[in-house]
Symmetry: D2
Subunit: 341 residues, 4 copies
């Protein structure tokens, strides 16, 4: 049995990690920690985690986190490095925060306003070379939820050299992506019946991460215009991604590139022609639904992808990466089927 | 491996059965049938069931359903008897419809307007004697979703003789309980932002089933006033149930009755004092959350229960009952944790 | 032109008051005040109130509120008395808070935990004698949102002497009724896809107000079991109310009582037989939809009513009462049509 | 009093027209017609229109529609020409359908598959020259809901010559835009908790209408990549629109262009810097909220606009255009304030 701990377990990412770990046949759950919620019963904040009834959040300290095979971090940005430094190389540390995702220290500082902590192996196995980078890893940076949806949507187009390096992405997200801290604009009264954009004009922190991924695949810098949109649902990201098609690209060539890229991926489903992804179909699962089209009038490749932001977009990606790092079956403890409707 | 079939698999109950069976380690899925949707790809109608990609709905015929160990029926009311008659006693038939739930032929005729087909063992193991009645059964009638939520809410009060035999129930339900047939009042535009009652005045078909259960527990006829309310969510039932307290009943005695009734039930959680059930916490799980209070001014026992109408309220209850009937571990393939938020 | 002020205008009740006053042809808007939000632009907190762009919330002080014909108070409970004391009898004060609703000082203290401030004329003109009590009034206590929905649902039954004095009410409410203060359980992620009860067991503060109204109509004490349920919509209350029918009550007599009670009420619509109220149909309007049924098996009268909690349930009721007090046409500035779907 | 009729009044556009006309002080409502719903009570299908209780839908015939000053058509595409032909030039015909919007017969045929009926004055007064074209008009083509949101978002950028002629638009829409016909994918169970794109790859019928508008403003052909996304709300469109900025464009120049374009528009609000549009703030109103940003890294102008698809996007635009055509105050009967939250 792999012994796991979750630090920062009172939020949505932490709750989803616990949900998946409770259903994972190869792990047991050790420490479950929180910051201001330390001392409170787990099920007071996570009432859906019935099997943890009777347990209490511990404080996030090195002593509490010591002695686990795997420690998942679901902490606010900027706190992971200090915690990880206390955990030896014998411990697999899987960071759901942003701290170790970006390679460019300048980009990190521009978007996060603090010193760059470094770069860890990136937990998106479906990217070219992604799976290999995770085998045996002892430190993993789980991708952001938007970068997961967008990178998997556009990777085959850039990998096959079909698109100009100028991507435009508008992604609708459920509210859990904004976290569990009580803020007025996230109240149910505000979000139900309303859609709104945020981070407009290239200011969202996931923008450089998306550009980093696409540029690596394309082999040249890809400019990314990214606008996230908050829509009235608790979970899910629907990413609508487009880029100018290079001259001569055909719809058949485009679809072939996607079929080839994802033929053997257990968690990526290229939908049959004519069927569009919906986030509802992947709720609670680690699955990515993708559909691709060529708009010949506008001259653009248009790709739509759907994920559950908390599962494949965060905790599911973390567990999948852990499985690979530890040599377990990649899909252990992860659902392919969504909870729908 | 137990070989299962699902008849009527293109609707919501059928889809949930398939979702659970796909995750059940002791079964394999054989025939998957539909009526007007026969011939269509399964994932065209159930896009969340990715592992069934490539399969097509077959027609619901005796030939197609033959040769399975278990056949689940998710058919419109009135069709189950004819299908079951073609399946020998060697086959376990689990009916998610209403046909075999009521014992009183007159009540059946009054509420369903057709001839009574009979009565099968009732798939609610948490009721007194319920588990025993299912062991080795070859025919099982899965309870209605509202009767599941209401009967488990009030059973301890009536079982311990604490309440007058006059229950008042108002239950809020998500829209999947109304099925997948396209009707104008079930359009998203109509249901989002709106709550409405239906079946008002004792006309909902689940009323006699609730009364049958409560009367059996109380050992005398229990009158039931039941009003279902449609609220804007896809899944979930929140049942608010009350009955006059008998003279001398105390809050402590009441809570003790509930603690005793559910101490060993794997799928029923009496919440800690001060915590109220919410349907979101049980989404996708087979869990029932229950809380009980004594209103001393009004002189009433008030019990609130939350279930997922498609899981514990239909398909989860069906799988749980199948497990008991076949001698498998009762919780096999069923989640205790909900998918929240 | 009647000059109006709104104190506590940054919340939901205050915002709805401003929306209605902006559309009212007989008033102009003077002071618009807030507490912690004083100094912020009105449209930063109330972006839907475009005509107030450029205005800033003032502080809630006697100086700022002086010199208006009408002052609406949308303050936290317990603050209205002090503010009203500074406003002379020449000013009509309309209090949307609870402070002056209850007649029984003991009930006030039990439910609100502070000293009783007194009782003002009650702003529910559709109750027997209600309209007369408001004519020329200089102080008005606007009813709670639940008491509005419930009292209008059951008033004809008790007024005509058809029901036993033991009412059971379960009311589904949108989240705006819980206010705009950011609390974790009111986050969109928590409320979407979930229903939950609160104030269970007779503890909700609107319980004695409902009992006070029904008892006055019935002419004897009415016991009330009241359970509010939070459902995923921003606005609306659907109240399902029932009481045992007195012996000999018929469905015809029941319907006649309701037809008679509401035949001339501009804002109460008894729906045609067979049509149930839905909160969506009254969104943004001052209208109450009512339907009534007799459940002969359970022996209960069942009444369902729908209102918009912010309009008829708060700000619309306040404006309607102001109109009556000032001798203006009762419906001025109030919509009868809802914004649906 | 202007005497109006609404043809096709049982759907969402027709219902919204009736709602607005009921609140319009300068009109009275004559014929209210439907197709398959003819003979049914208006409030059975439009329960929010309480003042029309007692009225019945008539059939859509020339006789019924004769004798009105204004006839609004809310008919399926392709039916307006025949109805309009029966109405003399003395009657103002306002068509909410698509039939007379496109100038290019080839585009019409490509997207609608039928013969082109012609082109009428276009009901979007905020476009350059738009208001003048409507004065005294006897035939008006109301714009599509998406073209309204998108054209007003990008018009100032193209009007001031700041953007390359290659626009990318992703617009989130509430479900009422898809109409009231009961289709399985529009069920509440399907749309709640789920976002999905449709008409992907340039196939949505509003694409050529958007391109027509933007090209006219830019004075050269503008290529448009348009993807609509269905999100879980009944009303509202949030359009995220971008185009490459021409060299040398600054954020200040961009904002100035928008301030200048909309300074005097009663229904278009350029929000203060830092505030993003949300559809909830414009629900039920004729208001358009707009915000603009320059993404200097991606080199793109990004504009977000919010409208209510049924009000400004359909029925409100129709009434506003009628007001202009008849010489009434442009805003008569139209709300500037939204119903929020």
């Amino acid at each position: 049995m792999v012994r796991t701990a979750v630090a920062g377990a009172s939020g949505y990412a932490g709750g989803e990690l616990l949900r998946l770990l409770l259903g994972h046949p190869g792990v047991e759950i050790g420490a479950v920690t929180a910051a201001s919620n330390a001392g409170r019963p787990v099920t007071a904040l996570q009432p859906h985690l019935a099997p943890l009834a009777g347990r209490v959040f511990e404080e996030t300290t090195p002593q509490v986190l010591a002695g686990h095979d795997v420690v998942f971090l679901a902490l606010p940005h900027g706190q992971s490095a200090a915690v990880a430094a206390e955990l030896g190389e014998g411990t697999l540390v899987v960071d759901c925060g942003a701290d170790f995702r970006l390679k460019d220290a300048g980009e990190w500082e521009r978007f996060y306003g603090s010193a760059h902590a470094g770069t860890w192996p990136y937990g998106l196995p479906e990217l070219p070379g992604g799976r290999e980078a995770l085998k045996g890893a002892r430190r993993i940076a789980v991708p952001g939820c938007y970068p997961t949806a967008v990178s998997l949507a556009l990777a085959p187009a850039y990998g096959a050299g079909l698109a100009e390096p100028e991507a435009v992405v508008v992604a609708a997200s459920g509210t859990s992506g904004a976290g569990k801290a009580a803020k007025p604009h996230l109240l149910g009264s505000e979000v139900m019946g309303s859609a709104s954009a945020y981070g407009v004009g290239g200011t969202h922190r996931h923008t450089p991460e998306i550009a980093q991924n696409l540029s690596a695949i394309a082999g040249r810098p890809v400019k990314v215009s990214f606008t996230p949109v908050l829509v009235p649902m608790p979970r899910g990201i629907l990413a609508t991604c487009s880029a100018p098609a290079l001259p001569g690209v055909t719809a058949d060539a485009l679809r072939s590139a996607y079929e080839k890229a994802y033929a053997d991926e257990p968690f990526v489903q290229l939908l049959p022609a004519g069927q569009q992804p919906s986030t509802g179909a992947v709720t609670g699962s680690n699955t990515v639904h993708v559909q691709v089209a060529l708009d010949e009038v506008a001259g653009r490749i248009v790709v739509v992808s759907a994920i559950d932001n908390l599962t494949k977009g965060t905790a599911g990606g973390a567990v999948q990466s852990m499985n690979i790092a530890l040599g377990l079956p990649e899909g252990l403890g992860l659902a392919v089927t969504g909870v729908a409707p």
